[in-house]
């Protein structure tokens, strides 16, 4: 379902932040701090994920004095499965890329000089 090619690096960072505490509800600014994304990038990603049923959203039930109620987010069961797969694939791809780079670098170092 959630293949590596489906998600942008920004979306993967949001999924990673939500995966950190899968059962906990998180609010937008907390996610922005974890991912380093601006609100104009973060919220369209959350909307797309919610449209696809990967993220559920709700308003805080109890109003807290001194601030408005928060909009909260967490992964759905499908979202958790997709996120886990996508993050694992992304890790695998990244480690492959790192290994490829180090092998190339190693070959370059070991290559004998042509007389």
């Amino acid at each position: 379902m959630g293949s590596r090619t489906e998600f942008s690096p920004q979306t993967l960072s949001v999924l990673a932040a939500l995966c950190g505490q899968p059962s906990a509800w998180q609010h937008g600014y907390a996610l922005a701090r974890q991912t380093g994304l601006k609100s104009g990038t973060l919220y369209p990603i959350l909307i797309r994920l919610a449209d696809r049923g990967l993220v559920e959203a709700c308003w805080e039930e109890e109003p807290v004095p001194g601030r408005p109620r928060r909009h909260l987010y967490r992964l759905t069961a499908d979202g958790l499965a997709s996120a886990t797969t996508a993050l694992a694939e992304a890790d695998l791809a990244a480690s492959k890329a790192r290994r490829g780079t180090s092998l190339r670098r190693g070959r370059n170092v070991a290559a004998p000089a042509v007389p």
């Binding site: 990038t41 959203a57 408005p68 928060r70 909009h71």
Partner: protein
């Protein structure tokens, strides 16, 4: 900074109202969260992101582009139609232009509030086409009105004018229809606009395919009708500069067939293609809706095609020499005869309002007839399908007739 932040907060709360209801909570979420963000530039930047979200979700770029396009097209149409020289019916013509443009700009907002916005590509294209047609007809009709209302100062043209129009003050110009005529045209425009907006709105049960079928068949009808009568409508003395002899008869017959056939076919296809409930009564009503809409759109689009193309041709005829040369290619026509033909064509344009009423009425009657045919065909198909299914089930159970056994 605080006033800037407060202004951004107020702008955001107002802007959130522009976002469709299903998405509004997301815009409100950004605003609620802004209280968590440290005051100063970070909070301002957060709210700017919220405004970007609102602009995206409210499709602001598309809305602003459409509004600008409409403003430019409406301005050009008004500039082309505005009576330039002093004319006796100038106030009526100016009033007609202002009211038409106000209707075009204001009625969609009212329809959106009551029936919702258009929610399919077919609906949006139909609206855009209708707007283009109205804005194209305005300057064309103004040019024709100015020409037909201007009394020549003397000579043979003056005599020709007297024959066609009756005596008038030499050199004077009416500039277009009087208030009575203008009100009639405005009522017709308002009716067309209301019907087009209603049929293309989200809460009206008309399928996008029905609109597309109606518009397609209507376009064919309109183009063939225009080929038969490119210079106004005159059944007794038709002016067909490019059709002669048997070709004129053939295309004329085809036009008559299409006048009744196009909405009928649209109604049948519209009735057969739509999704209907299982209940036969409700299915019949659903098909009737699609047939009604398909026929109405077919007739209306056909009438609009003839009106736009015909008015445009006549306006170009009285304005441009090359159109006259192209229309009457190879014919030796004297200057006075040219004036007579232009005047004749300009008078024949006055028959278009009749056509704009008659075609949709014919269309909706035949569209409903088509929906009835579709309903009968669908019912008989369902009946034979059920019979075949029963038969297949009977064979499967071993409940086979003796004939089959033998």
């Amino acid at each position: 900074m605080s006033w800037l932040s407060q202004a951004a907060a107020a702008a955001g709360r107002i802007a959130a109202g522009l976002v469709p209801a299903a998405r509004r909570e997301w815009a409100e979420a950004v605003w609620a969260e802004a209280h968590e963000v440290p005051a100063g530039w970070p909070r301002l930047s957060w709210r700017a992101g919220g405004l970007a979200l609102v602009a995206k979700e409210a499709q602001m770029v598309r809305r602003i582009s459409i509004a600008l396009l409409f403003a430019v097209a409406a301005g050009a149409a008004a500039w082309g139609a505005w009576p330039g020289s002093p004319v006796s019916h100038g106030a009526a013509v100016q009033g007609g232009i202002i009211i038409t443009l106000t209707l075009l700009a204001g009625l969609p907002l009212l329809t959106r509030w009551v029936l919702g916005p258009p929610d399919s590509r077919a609906a949006r294209w139909l609206r855009a086409g209708f707007y283009a047609a109205i804005l194209a007809v305005m300057p064309a009709q103004a040019a024709i009105g100015l020409f037909v209302g201007t009394v020549p100062r003397g000579g043979i043209d003056r005599h020709t004018f007297d024959v066609f129009q009756g005596p008038g003050v030499p050199g004077s110009s009416s500039g277009g229809p009087d208030w009575g005529g203008e009100i009639g045209i405005l009522l017709l425009t308002a009716c067309y606009l209301a019907v087009v907006l209603a049929l293309t709105a989200r809460r009206t049960p008309v399928a996008p395919a029905t609109l597309a079928i109606g518009a397609g068949t209507g376009a064919v009808l309109g183009i063939v009708m225009y080929a038969v009568a490119p210079l106004g409508l005159n059944v007794k003395y038709p002016d067909r500069p490019w059709l002669h002899g048997s070709a004129a008869d053939t295309v004329g017959t085809l036009a008559w067939i299409l006048l009744f056939g196009a909405p009928l076919v649209a109604g049948v296809i519209g009735g057969l293609r739509c999704y209907v409930p299982d209940d036969p009564g409700e299915a019949g009503v659903a098909r009737a809706w699609q047939g009604f809409a398909a026929g109405l759109v077919s007739g209306g689009v056909g009438a609009l095609f003839v009106t736009v193309l015909g008015s445009g041709s006549v306006a170009l005829l009285v304005k441009s020499a090359w159109v006259r040369d192209w229309l009457y290619q190879g014919q030796h026509v004297t200057a006075s005869a040219v004036y007579g033909r232009e005047l004749f064509a300009s008078q024949n344009v006055t028959a278009y309002p009749f056509l704009l009423v008659a075609f949709p009425v014919i269309g909706l009657v035949l569209g409903l007839t088509g929906a009835g045919i579709a309903n009968v065909a669908a019912s008989s198909r369902a009946g034979s399908g059920a019979a075949a299914a029963d038969c297949a089930a009977g064979v499967g159970r071993g409940d086979v007739s003796p004939t089959l056994e033998n």
